[in-house]
């Protein structure tokens, strides 16, 4: 008499199909969520990079704030270190701080530190200008974002 039950092979095929379907569905959901997290992190990293870029411009412009009697075109006081440095804004003193370091943490003005993300600023000094590159790196998600070839003159004329 022919057996009505399913064979082991048939059961395995059914399980395989169900497993593949589950994996595909879960993968799609996970990719959706991952893409959201990545977009959000890129948004944060790019905002912070843009913020550092503006701080560099502001730091150069601070050189104009000198007592009268001097030249109208001032040379910006850039740090003596040639390669890497960090630039931060201290909200309590209202000062832009520049420190020599190869890797920097993101310190937000309310005291929050984004420990999972770091940035580096590399500079190439020339006679009249610097070329800066700022690179931010998210250690958790292993993503990075970069602004390259920022040309900033060492001086700024007063219009």
């Amino acid at each position: 008499m022919k057996s009505k039950g399913a064979s082991f092979g048939e059961i395995m095929i059914v399980f395989l199909i169900i497993s593949v379907a589950l994996i595909v569905f879960l993968r799609i959901t996970s990719d959706y969520l991952k893409s959201l997290v990545f977009v959000k992190e890129f948004f944060i990293l790019n905002s912070l990079l843009q913020s550092k870029y503006q701080l560099l411009i502001a730091y150069r412009n601070k050189a104009l704030e000198r007592p009268f009697g001097g030249e109208t075109i001032q040379t910006a006081v850039w740090p003596s270190f040639p390669n890497n440095f960090c630039i931060d804004f201290d909200a309590s003193t209202g000062k832009i701080n520049v420190n020599s370091a190869s890797t920097c943490e993101f310190k937000l003005i309310n005291g929050l530190r984004l420990n999972y993300a770091t940035y580096t600023i590399s500079s190439a000094p020339f006679n009249d200008y610097y070329i800066f590159s700022i690179r931010a790196y998210d250690r958790l998600r292993r993503i990075s974002s970069e602004i390259e070839n920022i040309y900033i003159t060492k001086w700024h004329p007063a219009f």
Binding site: I18, A21, L22, F25, L26, I28, T29, Y32, L33, S35, L36, V39, K40, F43, I44, S47, L48, Q50, S51, K52, Q54, L55, I57, A58, Y59, N61, K62, L64, E65, R66, P67, F68, F89, A91, T93, G94, K95, I96, L108, I109, N110, L112, H156, P157, A158, F159
Partner: protein, 186 residues
């Protein structure tokens, strides 16, 4: 033929058919639930993209206006900023903590929200500017802020009620901070 069909002894019992239908229903239920979850996730992700896009538009608008602004003054311990736009219109950006929105208001006009209140709620906002290095104020560049830093603590929302936080900072170095005189005060 009909008689041979009725005489077929190999047919399934009612119990067997019921069990098969039950198993099939469970399988369909599980698969459809997973499918619905995928669809829900994609809707939530699309909503978040829309909210992030709204944040980007709002912050870019502020960046553009502040870049060409004059006479910046921080208000209410950093919860607002007053300045003059490129056309010298007095403008205020202020945090409404009750409704959790960031208002943008030009002189003699009604306030408008920087972000869409349905998509973005503002938990906290801080405006700070740098302090000048000298006490002289003969020239605008001597006392004008060289940078305005804005700290955002936002809550972005999906239409399905799911929320996530977005904390970031924005800095603007105003172009007019190197001018000798304040064109809005002539």
């Amino acid at each position: 033929m009909a008689s041979s069909f009725l005489k077929n002894k190999n047919s399934y019992t009612l119990l067997e058919v019921t069990i098969v239908l039950l198993l099939l229903s469970f399988a369909i239920l599980i698969v459809s639930q997973i499918y619905l979850n995928v669809i829900n996730t994609s809707i939530i992700v699309n909503d978040y993209y829309q909210s992030l896009e709204n944040v980007r538009l709002g912050t870019e608008k502020l960046w553009r206006i502040l870049k060409y602004g004059w006479s910046f003054k921080v208000l209410n311990n950093g919860q607002g900023l007053s300045f003059q736009k490129k056309d010298c219109t007095t403008t205020t950006i202020s945090f409404d903590s009750l409704n959790r929105i960031l208002n943008y208001q030009e002189e003699n006009l009604n306030p408008e929200s920087v972000f869409d209140p349905d998509l973005v709620k503002v938990n906290r906002i801080i405006f700070v500017t740098d302090t000048p290095n000298v006490n002289e104020n003969y020239a605008y560049f001597q006392y004008a802020p060289k940078v305005i830093v804005i700290f955002y603590d936002l809550e972005i929302r999906s239409k399905r009620g799911v929320t996530t936080s977005l904390v970031f900072e924005q800095a603007v170095a105003p172009l007019n901070s190197t001018y000798t005189s304040n064109l809005c005060q002539r």
